[in-house]
Symmetry: C2
Subunit: 327 residues, 2 copies
Amino acid sequence: MTSPVDRLQVLLQSKMEAVNDLIATRMASENAPRIPEVTAHLVGAGGKRIRPLLTLAGADICGYGGDNDVKLAATVEFIHTATLLHDDVVDESEQRRGRPTANLLWDNSSSVLVGDYLFARSFQLMVETGSLRVLDILSNAAAVIAEGEVLQLSVARNLQVDEATYVKVIRGKTAALFAAACEVGGVIADAPADHITALETYGDALGISFQMADALLDYGGNAGDLGKNTGDDLREGKMTMPVNIAYSRSEPEERSFWERVIGKADVQEGDVAQAVEIMRRHDALEETRTRALAWSAQAVEALELLPAGDMRDTLADLADFVVARIR
Amino acid sequence: MTSPVDRLQVLLQSKMEAVNDLIATRMASENAPRIPEVTAHLVGAGGKRIRPLLTLAGADICGYGGDNDVKLAATVEFIHTATLLHDDVVDESEQRRGRPTANLLWDNSSSVLVGDYLFARSFQLMVETGSLRVLDILSNAAAVIAEGEVLQLSVARNLQVDEATYVKVIRGKTAALFAAACEVGGVIADAPADHITALETYGDALGISFQMADALLDYGGNAGDLGKNTGDDLREGKMTMPVNIAYSRSEPEERSFWERVIGKADVQEGDVAQAVEIMRRHDALEETRTRALAWSAQAVEALELLPAGDMRDTLADLADFVVARIR
């Protein structure tokens, strides 16, 4: 069983090789050698290159024959890499993709400034495509991403956060760039307006379902099956959908539990299990699952308007794939 | 005696009011109220708004009659504010414009992310002007700025830095955005190519002379007259032009001094005076002054091609003004 990401890699292999070459060329800086060092550390660590694949797939499914898709694919990867560098500073992370983070290997300053450099580089690449519309879409996405991150920071450990705010945060985290990556593929192919909208809707719904599934898995998935890699969100006091739903339905004594753990960051032995217990009691896990699946279904549905074929099937499988672990 | 900056403020008063309004509108974020809080703290602290003034002056001197100059002026101020927010994180600064820095009042994360937001906002504003050329110029400037900052970081306390590298660093620090700010004013006015080049050259030379004068003043100016606000660069181990020249001409025992103070960050009582003494011995202060004045003269000379009048005279006075303290 090959994953849909691997299948996209195969379908778009020669284009992706061009993207990787372009990334390597454009992250260089003869003036400041630390820039390619830091970037290569992160880019070289792999990652699935899902955003450039989405751009290339979007252009391909709309029948694009030029090579600006390669530039845009590199652009979205640069924007993504810049946000990762800045995120690691913000979260004081020490590991990313199984390696020490750049802020740990070099310092916070290098992460901040190399991120800025990649961000500037991404805009240079966009300018080269000559499309103001692409610049519009991706500068809007960049604003939504930064706004979402600031929002997440301001509402950390705040139990009053409503669902709309939570969705804004996860749009900024993933969906905005997924949506823009898909959309610019269609734009550069000069596709009809409804095809472009379909691509944008697909990317947005894909990103949201991915984040919701991720939030659910952090509490052991639908079954609340706690194992390794669970409970991090609770320990970090993140307001994700399962907490959101559970808190809004909690009785007074359950509320005190959330206030201690999320509000006051006082997490004790057994608290993750206790959180899952309250979530189960109020169907919070089940409901998060239902919503994640609905977003995934919406992503698949959006594709229906686009030309049928291998590419469309693989994109549809990708939307299933991100929720496969919670089915 | 009114300063040329104040005179530019008067000449461009109604435009500047529109710029300030636009800045206030565009720094808002209904989703993340912390964004305008952090931005207002910095923008509200004043600062001379020199970059937006340069853009408006550039457009004005080229006879521009539209209102995209206001958008571009707000753009360059946003880019500048974003770099200040990131700089304060990089330098771990605690004061900026006589107030505690945002990273101290809020945290590093807010400074990083609000900077990112303003950067994205600045690109949205540029897109609204519909000019790909403007986007090209300012995304290049943004790359040079980030590159210069990384370069400065990598060569800190490195005595082997040559003059070309030093100029790259100060281009990134000031001259690149000064040059771009001036240039886009001409571009938006659809001015002839040589006028646009003249504006760019003016901004670049203005920025370089400003930085060189600043570096000189940190060692008490041409006379090496140490008072308050001197010696910071030495204590921070910065390789500026006076050190550069002095080190390249130093005898072995003088070199050990530089290696201890700059290379090993071991600064003792009397070291600033000792540095000035060595600089005097090798004409490093005098020579820095000569170069700063030459750059200032080049800025004035570049203006000659542009239409004569109040605006041109004031820009010329501004180039004199930045070196007035070292005459």
